[in-house]
C-alpha cells in the first residue's frame, strides 16, 4: 500500500448534537485538510467522542452539515460512509482470528476472500505484525491488538481514519512508541485522520493541528506550536501544558504591544486585543527563573515546597503576585524549602490571555 488516494477533507458546518436535554456538541464548525491529522483535545465529557462518532455516522447530527470530500454525508448511516475507526477498546472480534478481523471490512464489502486476505496480510506487514494472522485477538498483547485494530481500519483505504483515545489502554512506555508509529504511518500514507485524546502531550506530539474543546464548543484551534505558545484564554493555557495564571494590569497600549505591570515589575508583551485595565497573564512553569540572590528588579518570594523529579525540580513559591508553580530543569543544587528567592520571567512562555 502506498499513499492513500482516497484521503478526503472533512468539514463540519454548524454541527449540533443533542441527547435529549444534554447538548453534547454545540454549533461546531471546522475543517480537516485532506491528508492531515487533526486532534480533538479536551477534558472528559466535552463532546470529543460525540464529534468523532458523527464523522463515522454512528451518531446522527441534530443540526448542521457534515461533508467528506465534496459529498454531503449528513444523513448517511455509518455503513455507507467511507470512514474507518479505531476504537478505544479496539473492538476486535474475539471469534475471528487476526487475518479474519483485518479482512472483515473488505469481505463484507464484496471483495473475494483470497484477494482480501492478501490485502490484509499487506496491512499487517505495514503495522509490523506479519505472520500473526492465525492468532486470536486474545493471544496478542495490548499493543499488538491495538496495531491489528489500526491495520483493520487502514486496509479499507478510507477517506477518513478516526481514532478514539487509541492509546488509553496501553501502559505509559508503550504509549509513546505506539503514538509515534501511528503518526509515521499516517504521514507515509497521507491519511486524513481525526484523533481524540484528553492527553495534551499526546495531542501535541501527533498532530498537524489541534482543536481544543470545552463544554461542547471549540475553545481554540491551531498548530501544536500556536496552542502552546499563544493560548487564547485561561482554559486553553491551563489545559495545553501547565500555566500559572496571574492577575496583572495593562497600563498602556501602543502599537502591537501592551505595557503590563506585574507586582513591582513592568514588561512589554503583545496586547492580543485586550484593553487597558485588569488582565490575566499565563506564565509557563519553565519560564520562571529562581535565584537565591536578592535582586531589586525581581519579584521577591519564598520557596514553600521543592519536589525532586530527576530530570527537573518542581517548586511551589509564595510571592506577592500569588503562588507560583515552577519547573526548573537547569543543573544545580535544589533550593531548599523555606529559602527566600527572587523571581524573574523568561522572554518566552509569558502571554496575556482572555479570562
Amino acid at each position: 500500500m502506498t499513499m492513500n488516494a482516497n484521503s478526503a477533507a472533512v468539514r463540519f458546518e454548524g454541527v449540533t448534537k443533542a441527547f435529549g436535554a444534554v447538548v453534547a456538541v454545540d454549533e461546531v464548525s471546522f475543517t480537516v485538510e485532506a491528508g492531515s491529522l487533526v486532534t480533538l483535545l479536551g477534558p472528559s465529557g466535552c463532546g470529543k467522542t460525540t464529534t468523532l462518532r458523527m464523522i463515522a455516522g454512528l451518531e446522527m447530527v441534530t443540526a448542521g452539515r457534515i461533508l467528506i470530500g465534496d459529498q454531503d454525508v449528513t444523513s448517511l448511516p455509518a455503513t455507507d460512509r467511507d470512514v474507518s475507526m479505531v476504537f478505544q477498546s479496539y473492538a476486535l472480534f474475539p471469534h475471528m482470528n487476526v487475518i479474519e478481523n483485518v479482512s472483515y471490512g473488505l469481505v463484507v464489502s464484496g471483495m473475494a476472500k483470497p484477494v482480501a486476505r492478501e490485502r490484509a496480510e499487506e496491512g499487517l506487514t505495514q503495522v509490523g505484525l506479519a505472520g500473526y494472522g492465525n492468532r486470536l485477538p486474545s493471544e496478542l498483547s495490548g499493543g499488538q491488538q491495538q496495531r491489528v485494530a489500526v491495520a483493520r481500519a487502514l486496509v479499507l483505504e478510507p477517506q477518513v481514519l478516526l481514532f478514539d483515545e487509541p492509546l488509553s489502554n496501553l501502559d505509559a512506555k508503550l504509549r509513546r512508541r505506539v503514538r509515534e508509529d501511528i503518526r509515521e504511518l499516517q504521514q507515509n500514507l497521507h491519511m486524513t485522520s481525526v484523533y481524540v485524546t484528553h492527553d495534551q502531550e499526546e495531542a501535541l506530539a501527533v498532530s498537524d493541528r489541534v482543536i481544543v474543546m470545552r463544554n461542547a464548543e471549540i475553545a481554540q484551534e491551531g498548530t501544536p506550536h500556536d496552542l502552546y505558545e499563544w493560548p487564547l484564554d485561561v482554559f486553553v493555557a491551563d489545559f495545553v501544558g501547565d500555566a500559572n495564571v496571574i492577575r496583572c494590569e495593562i497600563t498602556r497600549i501602543d502599537g502591537l504591544e501592551a505595557t503590563v505591570r506585574l507586582g513591582g515589575t513592568e514588561r512589554r508583551l503583545p496586547h492580543r486585543d485586550l484593553p487597558v485595565g485588569e488582565a490575566n497573564l499565563a506564565i509557563r512553569p519553565e519560564a520562571i527563573r529562581l535565584n537565591t540572590e536578592p535582586s531589586a528588579t525581581a519579584i521577591a518570594g519564598s520557596v514553600r515546597k521543592a519536589v525532586y523529579l530527576g530530570s527537573h525540580i518542581e517548586y511551589a513559591v509564595d510571592t506577592d503576585i500569588g503562588e507560583l508553580f515552577v519547573s526548573d530543569s537547569r543543573d544545580g543544587q535544589a533550593i531548599t524549602a523555606g529559602s527566600s528567592v527572587s523571581v524573574t520571567l523568561a522572554e518566552r512562555g509569558v502571554v496575556l490571555v482572555r479570562p
Partner: protein, 733 residues
C-alpha cells in the same frame, strides 16, 4: 421494493383464506389455486368470487411503484410509503374484522348497510403476505425518513415485533375485555359486567363471619401472599447457605436451581398427594406407627400453599443468590472495621442492601402463585382460586365465557399490578444483579444466630424437596404408592409401551401420541421463541429510539399474563376470523412463543449487555450493514446464549400447562394436559410415570446444553462466552 413484489405475489397467487385443511395444509397447491373459490388468491376472490372488497388491497399494494426511483432521502418517498403502508394495513385489518364468517361483525352496521350475505373465512397466506408487505412499507418509509439512523433492518424488526406483540398479546387481552361486557348472546351489557365483576363468588367475605366460602379473589390473594412470603424466606435461607457459610454441599444447592425449570409445577402437587394425601405414604406410615388418623388437609389452602412453596422456592433462591452475591463484601468489611459485630453488620448493612432483591423475590412468588394452575387443580378441594375457576367457567357445565373473561380480568389486574409495582419500584436492578459481577474480597460469614435459623429451616426443606423428587422418579414403579407398594412396570408399559404388530413396531402406549406432539410442538416453538426473544433483546440493548420504553414494556408484558388468561384469551380471539387457528398446532406454537418470549429477551439482554457495543460499531464503520453485523459478529458471539434460549424455550414448552389446557385439541394433545387428565381419572401411577419421563427428557436436554456451552468456554480464552442465563424470571406455566 422487494416487498411490493412479495405482497403482490401473495395477493395474486396464494390463497387469501385458510383452507379447510388448516393453515399448514398444502392441498391448495394441487386444488386449483389461485382460481377456485376455496383456494382463490385475493385478486381472484375479488374478481371471480364476489368479494369485491378485496380489490382495493391490490391497488394499495402496487401504489408505491409511483415513488420507486425517487432518492431515499426525498421526504416524499418516506411519507408516501408510510401513508400507503398504513392505509393498506388498516384496510386489511378493517375488512377482516368487519366482515366475518357470517356477515357483519358489528351489529351496528346491520341497520346502516343493510343485511348482507357476505362472509369470509380466516386469513391465509395471501392475506399474511399482503399484511407483511404493508407493514414493511411503513417501516421502510420510517427508515427512509431517518428513524434509527436510517437502518432498514432495525426499523423493520421493530415494526415486525410490534405487530406480532399487538396481534398475539394485546389483541387477545383486548378480546377478553370485550367478552367481559358481552352476554352469552353477544350483545353488550355493562350492567351485567358490573354484576359479574362484583359477584359474591369473587369478592364475598362470608368466610370471616360464617362458616362459608370466601370469594375466589380473596382466596387467590391470600394464597399468593403466603406463597410469596414463604418462598422468599426459604429462598433467602438457601441463598445465605450457598454464599455465606462454608457448607460443604453447596454445589448440590445449585442443582436446586435447575429443578423448577424441568418440573411441570403440578407434578409437585401430585407428589404431595402421594406423600400426604389420605392414602399417602407419610400419612399411612403415621397411622401405622403412631395411630394418627389421615386427614384431607392437603386438599385445600394448606396443601396448595405447601406445594407452591416447594415449587417456587428454587425460583426465589435463584433471584436471591444473585442479590446476596451482589452485596459487596467491601461494604461488610467496612462495617466490621467500624467495630460492628457480625450480627450488627448483617442486620444493618447486608440485609438492607438485599431489600430490593427480597421485594423482587416476593413479587415473583406472588405472581407465580396467582398464575399457577396445576397445583390448585390437583390439590384444590374446596378451595377455589381464580386460575382454576376460569378453567371451570369455560370447560365446566357452565360454559360461561363472560364469567371466564371477568375472572380473567380480575386475575390479570392482580398480576399486572404486581408486575408494574416490580418494574416501577425496582426498576432495572433485577437484571443487573442477577448477572452482576461480584466485587473482589471474601464474603463475610453470617453470624451464628442467623446460621442456626437458616440451617434449621432450609435443610429440612431441602430434604423434603429431595423426597418429593424421589417420589416422582420412583413412584411410577409401584402399583399405587401408599396403598400398594409392590413393584411394577405396568404404568410405564401402559404409557410408553412399544409392541410388535403386524407391520413392525407399534407405539402402543397411551402417551406416545401426546409425547410426540409435545416434542414436535416444543421443537418448532423453541427456535421461533429464541429468535424473537434475541432480536428483541438486540433492539432493546443496542438501539435508542422514541417509544423504546413502551416497546420494552409491551414485550415483557406477556410475562405478567397468567397462562390461564392467555388460554382463555386465545380461544376468544382466534376462534373466529380474521385469524382462525384454534384447534391447530399453530395456536400452541404461538402461545408458547409469546408466553416464553420474555425469557428469551432476558437471556439475550443479559448476555448482550456484556458484549461491548463498539464491536457492532466497528463492524458498521467497516462497511457492514446491521443485518450483516448481527449475522457475523453478534450471533457467533452469542452462541451460548442462543443455545440456552433454545433449550429453555423447548423445556418450558414441555412443562407448560395453564394455557395449553385450553388450546389442546384431539389432534394436538400435549403431555401435560394428558397427565392432568390421568390425575383427574385417579391414574396416579401413569401420571407419575409420564412426569418422570418428561423430567428425564428435559434433564438430558439441559445437560446437553451445559456440555456444549462448557466446551465453548474452554476453547475460547478471551472470556467472551456469555453466561448461561437462568430461567429465574420465567413464570411457571
Amino acid at each position: 421494493m422487494l416487498w411490493i413484489a412479495v405482497g403482490f405475489g401473495g395477493y395474486l397467487l396464494l390463497p387469501w383464506y385458510v383452507a379447510d385443511g388448516g393453515f399448514w395444509s398444502l392441498e391448495w397447491l394441487f386444488g386449483g389455486a389461485p382460481l377456485t373459490a376455496d383456494y382463490a388468491s385475493g385478486l381472484f376472490q375479488g374478481l371471480l368470487h364476489d368479494r369485491p372488497w378485496l380489490l382495493p388491497v391490490g391497488v394499495l399494494l402496487v401504489a408505491p411503484i409511483a415513488v420507486v426511483g425517487r432518492p431515499k432521502a426525498d421526504p416524499v418517498f418516506g411519507a408516501a410509503l408510510i401513508t400507503i403502508g398504513a392505509a393498506g394495513l388498516a384496510y386489511v385489518v378493517g375488512q377482516g374484522f368487519t366482515i366475518g364468517i357470517s356477515g357483519w361483525e358489528f351489529p351496528l352496521l346491520e341497520p346502516l348497510l343493510g343485511p348482507t350475505d357476505l362472509r369470509q373465512d380466516g386469513m391465509g397466506y395471501g392475506a399474511l403476505l399482503a399484511a407483511a408487505a404493508f407493514l414493511f412499507m411503513v417501516t421502510l418509509g420510517f427508515a427512509a425518513r431517518g428513524a434509527i439512523k436510517g437502518d432498514v433492518f432495525v426499523v423493520g424488526s421493530i415494526g415486525l415485533i410490534m405487530a406480532l406483540v399487538a396481534v398475539f398479546v394485546f389483541f387477545p387481552v383486548f378480546r377478553i375485555l370485550i367478552s367481559a361486557v358481552q352476554d352469552n348472546d353477544g350483545s353488550y351489557s355493562f350492567n351485567l359486567f358490573l354484576s359479574k365483576l362484583f359477584d359474591d363468588k369473587i369478592w364475598g367475605v362470608a368466610c370471616l363471619t360464617a362458616n362459608l366460602r370466601c370469594g375466589v379473589a380473596w382466596n387467590s390473594l391470600l394464597l399468593a401472599i403466603l406463597t410469596g412470603i414463604s418462598s422468599t424466606l426459604l429462598g433467602l435461607a438457601f441463598a445465605l447457605i450457598a454464599t455465606r457459610t462454608n457448607f460443604r454441599a453447596k454445589r448440590l444447592l445449585r442443582v436446586l436451581t435447575m429443578l423448577p425449570i424441568i418440573t411441570p409445577p403440578f407434578v409437585i402437587g401430585l407428589a404431595v398427594i402421594l406423600l400426604f394425601g389420605r392414602a399417602g405414604l407419610v400419612s399411612q406410615s403415621l397411622w401405622d406407627l403412631f395411630g394418627i388418623a389421615p386427614t384431607r388437609w392437603v386438599f385445600g389452602l394448606p396443601g396448595i400453599w405447601f406445594a407452591q412453596t416447594l415449587a417456587f422456592t428454587p425460583i426465589a433462591f435463584l433471584v436471591l443468590i444473585g442479590i446476596v452475591e451482589g452485596v459487596s463484601p467491601a461494604m461488610e468489611e467496612a462495617s466490621q472495621t467500624l467495630r460492628a459485630t457480625s450480627w450488627q453488620t448483617f442486620s444493618t448493612v447486608s440485609l438492607p442492601l438485599m431489600r430490593p432483591g427480597l421485594a423482587n423475590a416476593f413479587l415473583l412468588g406472588f405472581i407465580e402463585s396467582l398464575a399457577d394452575f396445576g397445583n390448585p387443580l390437583v390439590l384444590g378441594g374446596n378451595f377455589d382460586v381464580l386460575s382454576t375457576e376460569i378453567f371451570f367457567a369455560i370447560v365446566g357445565a357452565q360454559n360461561d365465557q363472560g364469567r371466564a373473561a371477568v375472572l380473567a380480568i380480575v386475575l390479570l389486574a392482580f398480576t399486572l399490578s404486581a408486575f408494574i409495582a416490580q418494574r416501577l419500584w425496582l426498576g432495572r436492578k433485577s437484571y443487573v444483579t442477577v448477572t452482576g459481577k461480584a466485587d473482589s474480597g471474601m464474603p463475610v460469614m453470617i453470624p451464628a444466630r442467623v446460621k442456626a435459623i437458616v440451617f434449621g429451616t432450609a435443610l429440612p426443606w431441602a430434604a423434603l424437596t429431595v423426597v418429593v423428587y424421589i417420589i416422582i422418579l420412583f413412584g411410577g414403579f409401584v402399583e399405587l404408592l401408599g396403598r400398594n407398594n409392590t413393584f411394577t412396570l405396568r404404568h410405564y408399559i401402559d404409557t410408553f409401551g412399544i409392541t410388535r404388530g403386524d407391520f413392525g413396531l407399534v407405539f402402543s402406549g397411551l402417551a406416545w401420541n401426546s409425547f410426540f406432539t409435545t416434542i414436535s410442538i416444543a421443537a418448532i416453538a423453541a427456535p421461533l421463541t429464541a429468535s424473537i426473544g434475541l432480536l428483541t433483546a438486540y433492539i432493546l440493548v443496542r438501539q435508542r429510539f422514541v417509544g423504546r420504553n413502551a416497546f420494552e414494556f409491551g414485550t415483557m408484558l406477556s410475562f405478567a399474563i397468567p397462562g390461564t388468561v392467555i388460554g382463555v384469551s386465545y380461544i376468544l380471539a382466534f376462534n373466529v376470523p380474521p385469524i382462525e387457528i384454534t384447534g391447530t398446532g399453530v395456536i400452541l406454537v404461538l402461545s408458547f412463543m409469546f408466553r416464553n418470549m420474555p425469557v428469551g429477551v432476558r437471556a439475550g439482554i443479559a448476555s448482550m449487555s456484556q458484549l461491548d457495543a463498539s464491536l457492532d460499531e466497528a463492524s458498521l464503520t467497516l462497511g457492514a450493514n446491521s443485518f450483516t453485523t448481527v449475522r457475523k459478529v453478534i450471533l457467533p458471539l452469542l452462541r451460548p446464549a442462543i443455545l440456552a434460549a433454545l433449550v429453555f424455550s423447548f423445556v418450558r414448552a414441555m412443562t407448560a400447562i395453564s394455557a395449553v389446557i385450553f388450546l389442546v385439541s384431539a389432534n394436538y394433545d400435549m403431555a401435560t394436559s394428558f397427565i392432568i387428565g390421568r390425575v383427574e381419572n385417579g391414574d396416579f401411577g401413569q401420571a407419575i410415570a409420564y412426569s418422570s419421563v418428561l423430567i428425564l427428557v428435559m434433564m438430558v436436554a439441559i445437560l446437553l446444553l451445559q456440555l456444549l456451552v462448557g466446551e465453548r468456554r474452554l476453547r475460547r480464552r478471551a472470556g467472551t462466552a456469555a453466561p448461561v442465563p437462568t430461567a429465574s424470571t420465567g413464570l411457571a406455566a
